[in-house]
């Protein structure tokens, strides 16, 4: 697999750093990491750049992760894999995000193994 251009959307700068570090720790080949603090900023990054993978929080100010997914899937262009990273479990917001087109979710706190397994599943399903 070619090195990925990854967008991480989370209102916590600390969490964005941890997600990036965990991705690298899981052995994911990364070309470049883009960061956004909310859904609106995430959409701007998506408009201006070619992205291979999106990891997004749900509970964010301004535009939350659910709205972000809705806008992203409503747009034209390639269906980039979207993974929700959230403290919420398998109910409520996560299921809503998946119904709007997210490909999967990872619950915080997470380990590199959990991220690796989820990404492997998603890329196998989308390719």
């Amino acid at each position: 697999m070619k090195p990925l251009r990854v967008l991480i959307v989370d209102d916590s700068a600390v969490m964005r750093k941890i997600v990036e570090r965990t991705l690298r720790g899981a052995g994911v080949a990364i070309n470049k990491v883009f960061e956004a603090g909310d859904g609106e900023a995430g959409l701007t990054v998506m408009r201006d750049n070619s992205i291979d993978l999106v990891l997004s929080d749900i509970n964010m100010p301004k535009m939350n992760g659910l709205e972000f997914v809705k806008h992203l899937r409503a747009g034209e262009g390639p269906k980039v894999p979207i993974v929700m990273i959230t403290t919420e479990g398998g109910e409520g917001g996560v299921l809503e995000a998946i119904s709007h087109g997210a490909n999967g979710y990872i619950r915080k706190p997470f380990t590199p193994d959990q991220i690796e397994a989820q990404l492997k599943r998603i890329f196998e399903a989308t390719n």
Partner: protein, 186 residues
């Protein structure tokens, strides 16, 4: 006419262990039981949630402490709960512990309380609240979390209002104490 004697066994509430009038029990103890009666059930869940967050995200173990609740702390990160459980969970600690939390999450420890330290403590609180919620049967779907809020400075005290049950659980990591508090509306 013969008489029949019926013996009535005393009924003890499974939550508070007090003797109950079986007729009024259903009225005075609606289901689910009051939060105060669930401390024995919930405190182990808080401990498990804290252990999971610190092991996975900070790469360290926490030690349970029996210390009295902290009355003042340099930082308090809070997350609100709404829905079937209404209240607030908080992580309270002094500056050294807060900076060490950020250091473990970022790989470099800030010397002073800054945005990174506040952000890190808020995320820890958020994850502990989420992990706790996931461990309470039936709560996963019926309870929402707010975005974290962080208070800084030692010159404040948090006061619980009437009708609020307060739990406080103390831990340490790397020898640094911190507290998790949970305030729930009855």
């Amino acid at each position: 006419m013969s008489t029949q004697t019926i013996s009535v066994e005393p009924i003890t509430c499974p939550q508070c262990k007090t003797l109950l009038n079986p007729v009024s029990h259903a009225v005075s103890h609606p289901v689910p039981p009051p939060a105060a009666h669930r401390s024995a059930e919930w405190i182990p869940l808080i401990r498990s949630a804290v252990q999971e967050v610190f092991e996975k995200m900070l790469g360290c173990e926490v030690v349970d402490r029996d210390a009295a609740p902290l009355e003042k702390s340099d930082l308090s990160a809070m997350v609100g709960l709404a829905g079937e459980l209404v209240g607030m969970m908080a992580v309270c600690c002094d500056k050294p512990a807060a900076c060490a939390v950020a250091g473990r999450m970022l790989g470099e420890e800030p010397p002073e309380i800054d945005d990174c330290v506040r952000d890190a403590l808020g995320e820890v609180c958020n994850m502990v609240a989420g992990s706790f919620k996931a461990r309470v049967p039936g709560l996963e779907k019926g309870c929402s979390l707010s975005v974290p809020t962080v208070l800084t400075g030692a010159d404040y005290r948090l006061h619980s209002l009437a009708g609020v049950v307060h739990f406080a659980v103390s831990f340490s990591f790397d020898g640094l104490p911190f507290w998790i508090t949970l305030d729930l509306h009855e």
